[in-house]
């Protein structure tokens, strides 16, 4: 335990999350994965957007970037392309990544930029106290869906895969060991990696939907899921309506920043005499 505390800015604790929230579980899984892999603290940048889950970065002892709502992946794209040697991790929520930031999610996936994106999906906007999100299941309640949600939620993993992400996995805060293992694999993957962590918001989602407290909400999540390996052996009727967890997609594909570095090398070889035009701020104009 103590060795993991060194990954936290202890002067910033305690955190702001509600009792029973799953954000700490996911943050813990990330820290243990980083520790297990022996990654250099000074080489990690963790970027987040806005929402409960995005507050995680403030507690972590890395270079951390708490950005505007939905833009974490866009900021992270700048960090990674400017300095490809850095290990760039995004922590985001379902509202942050699937609603306001959905465009950046699919385009980062399309580019296959080497960013590990952990989406903490609690099916609700927690920070603003319980509005329906693009991940609120059909028929369930939120303060902006008081008569039941008539919209449908995304399958974020299918979305990421279709958009071009080269590593896609899903786990839950109940399946903690699996979650840590999948985050480790995502961190080691060279390319755009998405780990969706299904997580409980007992305060707003659980209570509004009369599921119960933290443990009840955690069990509610667990009961909907089936491991992708186990699912292969199940008859179709038993798989119906289940959410698959485990490693869902993993392929090798040339990574964006690596390709850009190769492009620079190629262009510089073709322009060997090119020198940066160092200017002074005072040039002449031949006409007035």
């Amino acid at each position: 335990m103590a060795e993991f505390l060194s990954y936290f800015r202890q002067d910033r604790l305690p955190h702001i999350w509600c009792p029973g929230c799953g954000n700490g579980t996911v943050t813990g899984a990330l820290i243990r994965a980083i520790d297990k892999l022996g990654l250099d603290k000074n080489n990690i940048v963790v970027v987040s957007g806005i929402g409960c889950s995005s507050r995680a970065v403030g507690y972590l002892d890395f270079d951390t970037l708490h950005t505007t709502h939905g833009r974490a992946i866009a900021f992270a794209t700048g960090v990674k392309l400017a300095r490809p040697r850095l290990k760039v991790i995004v922590i985001t929520g379902d509202g942050d990544s699937a609603a306001i930031g959905g465009n950046h999610l699919i385009h980062a996936a399309r580019r296959n930029i080497d960013i590990t994106t952990i989406i903490i999906n609690n099916n609700i906007y927690g920070m603003t106290s319980g509005q329906a999100s693009p991940m609120t299941p059909h028929g369930m309640l939120g303060t902006t869906a008081p008569y039941g949600n008539v919209e449908y939620n995304f399958d974020l993993c299918e979305l990421a895969k279709a958009a071009g992400a080269t590593y896609v996995a899903r786990a839950t805060t109940y399946h903690y060991v699996l979650l840590e293992d999948l985050i480790s694999k995502a961190l080691m993957h060279k390319g755009f990696a998405v780990v969706e962590a299904l997580s409980q918001c007992p305060t707003y989602f659980g209570r509004k939907n009369k599921i119960g407290g933290a443990v009840d909400t955690l069990n509610w999540i667990k009961e909907q899921t089936v491991n992708v390996k186990a699912a292969a052996a199940l008859p179709a009727e038993k798989r119906a309506g289940k959410i698959l967890i485990g490693e869902l997609h993993s392929v090798e594909k040339a990574e964006f920043t690596q390709q850009y570095l190769e492009l620079i090398a190629r262009v510089q070889r073709a322009n060997p005499t090119y020198a940066r035009n160092k200017g002074v701020p005072g040039c002449e104009l031949n006409s007035d």
Partner: protein, 377 residues
């Protein structure tokens, strides 16, 4: 020297200056009339080891620039009205978090899609107040191609020095106009670079030196492990909603730039000393205005000209001093009186400030300004 003479357009001059100033990172989204800047960056930046990325929208563009700048890279984007509107939230982020970034806004007619291929100067107030909350910003307005080069270079110097977003406010005509420019000699010149801390020990990312009010900026990935947040924050970068912390931060941020308004003032004055009427303008409107002023003077009328190159922070004291002799002030601009508002505020008292606004997508003709001067007498 002559071998460096080039016929180039304003957008190209902005880009060449940015590369000369050490541009390492460009993120942008295509939009008329700024697109040439992205195209030239895509071609030229890899040659100097820099990075270009075409983002999915302007929000992503400015966000990626801020991310890159946090690693120590000099970053720039370019856009026009609709894209500039989209960037506003993250410009506020850069302003609050004190992250250097340069934005070229090649203005076109708005609001909305407006007239994409025609010039306007309607972003003058958006550049100052486009994002929410009081915040510092610097905006420079070139009046010709040569100044596109000079002021873009200057934008990088100021952005790095003050850790503030700097906007180069051009327009469709300044951006697309071609002039012969002699590029400056590079000998002995240092590329602008932000001040950095010496050691991670005891580093406080937002502890500002009391003189200048600008904290030292550690690049991400160099062992400082600091927290950058758009929440109000204390000297350590920790989020805070304490009234005293919020107040100190806001006052330091705004004072950092507003206190330099006269130092940053940059304008071209002609014939103001004995003028009855002063014409005040900027950017491409100032070309027609200057021509009209010279014609009036040649006909014996006491008319002077003031062209602003620094728009924000507004050089109130300088403007007040230079316009002191004028009995009336005429402000030709390609909007409905945005600069005139500031002139009224800074130098108006009991003198008429005559608005000469134009919003039809056409440049001023010198005859229009000349006629307005005649009418003002």
């Amino acid at each position: 020297m002559p071998e460096k003479a080039r016929l180039m357009q304003g957008n190209e001059a902005c880009t060449m200056a940015a590369i000369a100033a050490g541009l390492e990172f460009y993120a942008g989204y295509p939009i008329t009339p700024s697109t040439e800047i992205a195209e030239i960056c895509a071609e030229e930046l890899p040659k100097v080891g820099g990075k270009f990325i075409q983002m999915e929208d302007e929000i992503g563009s400015i966000s990626a620039c801020i991310g890159a700048s946090l690693t120590g890279a000099k970053a720039m984007t370019a856009t026009s009205g609709p894209g500039f509107s989209l960037m506003q939230e993250s410009i506020g982020y850069a302003s609050l978090c004190e992250i250097p970034v340069v934005i070229i806004d090649v203005q076109r007619v708005g609001p909305s899609t407006g007239m994409p291929t025609s010039p306007a100067q309607g972003d003058l107030m958006q550049v100052r107040w486009g994002t929410h909350g009081d915040h510092p910003i610097i905006a420079l307005a070139p009046g010709n191609v040569k100044e596109c080069y000079e002021l873009t270079f200057r934008a990088f110097e100021l952005s790095e020095k003050y850790r503030v977003p700097v906007v180069v406010l051009t327009d469709e005509v300044i951006g697309h106009m071609r002039e012969k420019v002699v590029l400056p000699d590079s000998e002995g010149y240092t590329i602008p670079r932000r001040a950095m801390p010496q050691s991670p020990a005891g580093y406080k990312p937002y502890a500002a030196d009391p003189q200048g009010g600008v904290p030292l900026m550690a690049p991400f990935g160099t062992g400082y492990r600091w927290h950058c947040t758009g929440l109000f924050h204390d000297e350590n970068g920790a989020p805070s909603s304490k009234p005293a912390v919020a107040s100190a931060l806001m006052r330091r941020l705004n004072l950092k730039i507003e206190s330099k308004a006269d130092e940053l003032a940059d304008c071209v004055a002609e014939g103001l000393e004995d003028c009855d009427i002063a014409v005040v303008s900027f950017g491409s409107s100032a070309m027609a205005a200057l021509s009209a002023v010279r014609r009036s003077r040649s006909e014996g009328d006491k008319v002077g000209m003031l062209r602003l190159k620094t728009i924000w922070p507004f050089p109130s004291a300088t403007v007040q001093r230079l316009l002191a002799p004028a009995k009336k002030i005429l402000v030709p601009e390609m909007n409905l009186g945005q600069l005139a508002l500031e002139i009224e505020r800074a130098a108006g008292c009991e003198r008429p400030v005559i608005r000469l606004g134009k919003v039809n997508g056409e440049l001023f003709h010198p005859d229009e300004v000349f006629a307005a001067i005649k009418e003002a007498f």
